[in-house]
Amino acid sequence: MKRFLIYTSIFLSILILFGVMVAFVGRFDNVNAVYSDNGNIKRIKQKANFDSLDILFVGNSYCYSGINPAYFDSINIQTFNLGIPTAGPYIYELVVDDYLRDAKHLPENVFFLISPMTFSSKADNFPAYPIHRYLNQPISNEKLVLEYGIVDQYVNLSKKSFVKGIENLKSGIITTAAISPLENKGYSPSDVVVNDSIVKNSESLYLDLLKNKLNQDYVQHLMDLSDRLLAKGVKVTYFELPTYKLKNYFNPDYLEDYEGVIEAVLEKYGLVRISPNMSDLNYRNIDHLNANGATKCTLEMIRQLNLKKD
């Protein structure tokens, strides 16, 4: 037994040492982030420049592809599009808290995007988009996985941070680059129009959604966040944007549960469900709007909000 324990301890110690080294290098993943040209990082790093908002839009990539703040500017409503790819309730919470921490004036309204994707297994893909590392007050991978109970993602998060850390160390920590300003208040337009080939090539990413169950913990988390904002005096509204074929990739039980969530948020917070007459020309792929679609949907949202005001 003694021999076994000694050898396994040495073996594991070397492994742990290696892990510590990987985690240490990973800490350099976000140096110079403020100079990054990546749209998502710019949205996070420059969000403090957009203060005293009438509406803060929070959502995933559907949000930054589908809501164009320029149309709100034209009617003197100050907005900012804080869409983050794959964002679900955990990322919503991280970015909203980070925004509120730095804001001199709280936004009057926070609009949360809601979609079947928001409560699916594809939401909050931290290993693909480690946005927690780029917040104004970054959160370590270790703290993130413990706080949200996603320990199984730790290895992938560490891998990503390690690779980025090495890149940053190789290119030098001190930079003389200029800060590249964020355009369109976070909105990211695309002129691509969906076609069969786009659907075929990206379909594989959606197929496993068919076996998904709606994550009720996510629903609760989002509602808790909404209640926290309400307690601070920020009005919360949910909004839903149309997609090309997204709902085909969810099973009927999932969609039924999703409609239950829709009813709940409609009753408690208010919901803007945008569904103008859309055509293929308004989408860039299975679930994202293109610039045409964004224009249509933003104008429709303004129309619906005005109707509400009346």
């Binding site: 199984d152 594989s204 496993d208």
Partner: protein
């Protein structure tokens, strides 16, 4: 609790510590700890089904005791059949109820009678097919007087629910595993290190090979008609590696874990894809199930001793039942029947025991004939796996039709090079280790420790770097 989860990584060292450092002086306490740990392990999925295991254990324990005291043959038969009915009754209800119901309704429809019978929303308890067969082996062996029944319920319940092999085997024979619960276990450093090595290799097979192959295979099997024939063929080949990596990986982790606690479980896989004919394949694939069916079904039916008709009948029975054991779907039955068709010519020509020794033993490479046999066997196995993987027979035939398109001879639209390279590395290690119990059992034992540990670290890094999207073990659903 999944073997490849953080939960298990915490659970295992705690149980190991308590087992060897806290209750190590008392065999009964060790068995009790194993029983508690096993119930916790199983209850992690759904604690409600613990009552099933407990009930099944109680029934077989008392029937075993009654069989010892009963000499009258008629009564003994009643006791045996009571156990079989209870165990297979549970299995039948949870696994096959809806299947029979649907087919019953379809049969009436076929004859123009529409009947409406509501199906039940039944959740299949994880591993029910495995522990049912394990506990049945006990009662049958006691009935046949090949095994003395145990007097201690803790030992027996621990044997039925032993967590390393509870949910996906190997399906242990009572005569092999139960006596190990009676005897005092002494810690053996070599056995434990060997166990860790087998766990490592099992994890590599599951996390790196099976989970990466699964991504591509799932894409091909789930997608509508959109890819080239070669892509679909590659999807089927990848599924062959997925199911092998998944199931044999699980068995390796199970056997390795058991060794950490001083138990020796039976071997479940012996490099089946290096088989030269289908009979050899079936001697090397899921050995614990094949031998279970051989001992408790095939031989009682007369085996291969009777005439040609009897041989054909028994072969079909054993393969079809084996297919049906895997799941309540016609696809599994078809898969079983197809394997019976593969096997029959060898049996009838008396060539089913031609390849008993390890392929290319003592050599680096196989001969041309052996390589041809191996490729042919792999090819027909992949073909049969299509039925195993498909959701329905229609799905399977459509999939085959898609393979047989003009684009079969073009390059696949998507070629996952990373996975192909990982499979090549995996096959290389399996080939050089094919004469051992598992591929890395002896690999590097004569190397300097730095190189040997370097190899283990390499495997760990590959597991961490190339870990695919975590998939549940396929065999849990059986």
């Amino acid at each position: 609790m999944l073997f490849n989860s953080i939960d298990f990584a915490i659970f295992l060292p705690i149980v190991f510590f308590l087992y060897w450092f806290v209750v190590n002086r008392n065999l009964r306490a060790q068995n009790f700890l194993l029983l508690l740990a096993s119930y916790l392990f199983y209850g992690w999925w759904d604690w409600r089904f613990l009552s099933l295991i407990l009930f099944s254990s109680l029934v077989d324990f008392f029937i075993g005791k009654a069989l010892k005291d009963e000499e009258r043959q008629g009564r003994r038969k009643i006791l045996l059949w009571s156990s079989i009915l209870v165990n297979l009754g549970f299995l039948g209800f949870f696994k096959y109820y809806n299947f029979f119901l649907e087919n019953f309704v379809d049969a009436f429809k076929f004859f123009g009678q529409d009947i409406s019978v509501g199906s039940l929303n039944i959740i299949l308890p994880v591993g029910i097919s495995f522990y049912t067969f394990q506990t049945l082996s006990y009662t049958i062996d006691v009935y046949r007087k090949k095994l003395e029944p145990t007097k201690d319920f803790i030992e027996f319940a621990a044997f039925v629910s032993f967590f390393p092999q509870l949910v996906a085997g190997p399906i242990e024979r009572a005569s092999n595993l139960l006596p190990q619960f009676y005897t005092k276990r002494k810690f053996s450093s070599n056995q434990a290190i060997d166990g860790l090595r087998q766990i490592l290799w099992g994890l590599f097979k599951k996390v790196v090979i099976a989970d990466n192959c699964a991504e591509y295979a799932n894409l091909m099997f789930n997608s509508p008609d959109a890819y080239s024939g070669s892509g679909y063929l590659l999807g089927a080949v990848f599924f062959a590696f997925q199911i092998y990596g998944d199931f044999s990986g699980y068995s390796d982790i199970a056997i390795g874990t058991a060794r950490l606690f001083g138990f020796d479980l039976m071997r479940n896989f012996a490099f089946p894809y290096f088989s030269r004919d289908i009979a050899e394949f079936w001697r090397r694939w899921h050995i614990s199930l094949s031998t279970w069916f051989r001992d408790y079904l095939y031989i009682p039916l007369g085996g291969s001793k009777g005439g040609t008709g009897m041989k054909i009948r028994n072969t079909f029975i054993i393969f079809i039942v084996s297919g049906f054991w895997h799941g309540a779907n016609w696809t599994f039955i078809f898969w079983g029947a197809l394997n019976a068709l593969y096997f029959l010519p060898l049996l009838l020509l008396n060539r089913n025991r031609n390849n008993l020794e390890i392929i290319a033993q003592g050599k680096w490479l196989p001969g041309l004939r052996e390589a041809g046999g191996m490729l042919f066997t792999f090819g027909i196995t992949v073909f049969a796996w299509i039925f195993f993987r498909a959701d329905s027979l229609d799905h399977a035939f459509n999939y085959i039709a898609r393979i047989c398109s003009e684009s079969l001879f073009s390059l696949p639209d998507l070629l996952p090079r990373k996975t192909v390279l990982l499979i090549a590395f995996f096959l290389f290690i399996e080939w050089i280790g094919r004469e051992q119990q598992f591929a890395i059992a002896k690999l590097g034992l004569r190397w300097n420790r730095i190189f040997r540990w370097g190899f283990y670290y390499l495997l760990i890094i590959l597991i961490l770097v190339f870990s695919g999207k975590q998939q549940e073990f396929i065999y849990f659903q059986f």
